[in-house]
Amino acid sequence: MSAPAQQSAPTATASAPTQIRRSRRRAGGSSASRGSTILVTGILVVVAVYFLMPVYWVIVAATKTTQDLFATNGFWFSSDFALLSNVRQVLTYGDGIFVRWFLNSMFYAGVGALLATYFAAAAGYALAKYQFRGREAVFGVVLGGVLVPGTATALPLFLLFSKLGFTNSYWSVLLPSLVSPFGLFLCRIYAEATVDDALLEAARIDGASEIRIFHAVGLHVLTPALVTVFLFQLVGIWNNYFLPLVMLSDENLYPITLGLNNWLSQVDRLPEFYQLTTGGVLLSVIPLAIAMIVLQRYWRGGLTEGSVK
């Protein structure tokens, strides 16, 4: 199972820095006929409509009153523009619990991704730049971890954490988020390709300690890979649902995914929760959508961790 991952990732990452600046190149040259341009653009537009439609719908829905939500066509605005009152309701309902969920998500994802990246960088650098006994064994075991899906460990993690009394705390979600086997994998490959041994030797002759060399030289050279690892871990933690669902029972500790689902599950009894949920979905999608578009170029080929659905 590890074979294709090992083959494709190095080629993609090693060439990534040079690719970014290279101008876009087209397979068939610039000699596309008018007809095929129209056809291709038509296809691309239709597909774009499919991908953007739900987001468009929620933007429209968030501007409507609960009554209009059911009475008017979902793809067009109603005469009663209720966006501001809806947003206010989302932000104030339950003493601002939505804001708390949002901050929780930011805490889990931000702190988790930052520390996970740092730990993965240190470990990947160590595996790439030192010869020591047990190196390949460590790498082999961690690589196995890349292939273990997150949901497979969530249940046993709950059993372990409940024995230790860790469940239903910030730690129960944060601790498992601090480990990125994929990040280690990527950092090792990147460090092997880019961190120059002569540079490390020069630092050693200057009398710098090994740990200091890692911080001064290693981290600096690894920066492009670190951005990628950080982003993957950030999205992974932000999207996580199974782990917090299993671990948390206190609403105040929920990340946004759990909180919004909590609201959705109440719509049967209280239709006003439709309005809260659509407003909440819109507010949580906006920052992510902006982040995706801005950060798109940092997603590079071969970095195929997170297709855990």
Partner: protein, 315 residues
């Protein structure tokens, strides 16, 4: 210490040389750098997996009607596995995911490959905008994507059902026969752009000279795709397919969230949902652990089998 044990130690070298000191320092340096990662890795990966395997072979017997006289644990052999496999719903859920995987993964891979080729082709205008639009859903968590789509599936709320009605088509996204494909739609929506981006990145590594040479030979669009682009993006295709297969068996958030609007989804609709129900509704952690091990094993066998198949073909 090392120097005094040698013969000339007493005469020449009393203290360890700088080189030796540095060498010893370099012995522990990698372990110091590895330590935080490894401690966390053991604690959150290795230990839970060992516990899950141990649990799956353990039997918990309660004394008294409500277990008030204490519980005893013992070795259960494969009893938990037999119990998990005897559960028709669990087996059915695996079968359902196989069907889902064959259709959804195929559709998604074809779609993301076609989109990547079109965006990298000469005829595409504004590829940057389209790439961003297709990639956007990846940033939306599965749960929120499902909530979003569930609004487009619910009768009364969904404009799609209204539009269908205009044309005399009665759409039912949440019925027993359709809800599986409604889930497939959510998954496809969420991951196509992501997979497409990986393929685009691989397409960009093809050197320009290859295209130039093909143009000199007078090769058209399809020959270039078939004999240059597709073979070269094979590794990316294989990798994304394997991860999609693993992801399919792990499906949880989408059906779990859709449960609240679709009665057709029962508590054992997917293997993971079944394990979750066994653990938290029936409080049978041992059988749940056996289910978790079985799911991981099936995912491993399938992705391994797929790799073997593709490897054999390439020879």
């Amino acid at each position: 210490m090392t120097s005094t044990s040698t013969q000339e130690g007493s005469t020449a070298v009393v203290a360890p040389t700088a080189g030796q000191k540095r060498h010893r320092r370099r012995m522990w340096a990698p372990w110091a750098l590895l330590a935080p990662f490894l401690i966390l890795f053991v604690f959150t990966f290795v230990l839970p997996i060992l516990i899950a395997v141990a649990q799956s072979f353990t039997r918990v017997t309660r004394q008294g009607v409500f277990g008030e006289k204490g519980v005893t644990t013992g070795f259960a052999g494969f009893d938990n596995y037999l119990q998990a496999l005897a559960n028709q719903n669990f087996i059915a859920s695996i079968g359902r995911m196989l069907l889902f995987g064959v259709v959804q993964v195929t559709v998604m891979m074809v779609l993301c490959t076609v989109l990547a080729l079109l965006l990298e082709g000469a005829a595409a205008r504004r590829p940057g905008f389209f790439r961003a639009a297709y990639f956007l859903p990846y940033g939306i968590p599965g749960v929120i994507a499902t909530i979003l789509w569930s609004f487009l599936y619910v009768p009364g709320l969904s404009p799609l059902i209204d539009i269908g009605a205009w044309f005399g088509v009665e759409l039912d996204f949440l019925g027993p026969s359709t809800v599986l494909w409604s889930i497939a739609n959510i998954v496809t929506w969420a991951y196509t752009g992501y997979n497409m981006l990986i393929i685009v990145a691989q397409l960009k590594t093809i050197p320009n000279d290859v295209y130039e040479a093909a143009k000199v030979d007078g090769a058209g669009w399809w020959p270039v795709v078939r004999s240059i682009q597709l073979p070269l993006i094979r590794p990316a295709l294989i990798l994304t397919t394997v991860f999609s297969i693993i992801g399919t068996l792990q499906l949880f958030a989408e059906p779990q969230v859709l449960q609240s609007v679709s009665p057709a989804i029962d508590s054992e609709y997917t293997p993971n949902l079944s394990a979750y129900t066994t653990a938290f509704a029936y409080n049978d952690y041992n059988v749940a652990a056996a289910q978790a091990v079985l799911i991981a094993a099936v995912a491993f066998i399938l992705s391994f089998g797929f790799l073997k198949l593709t490897n054999r073909r390439s020879k």
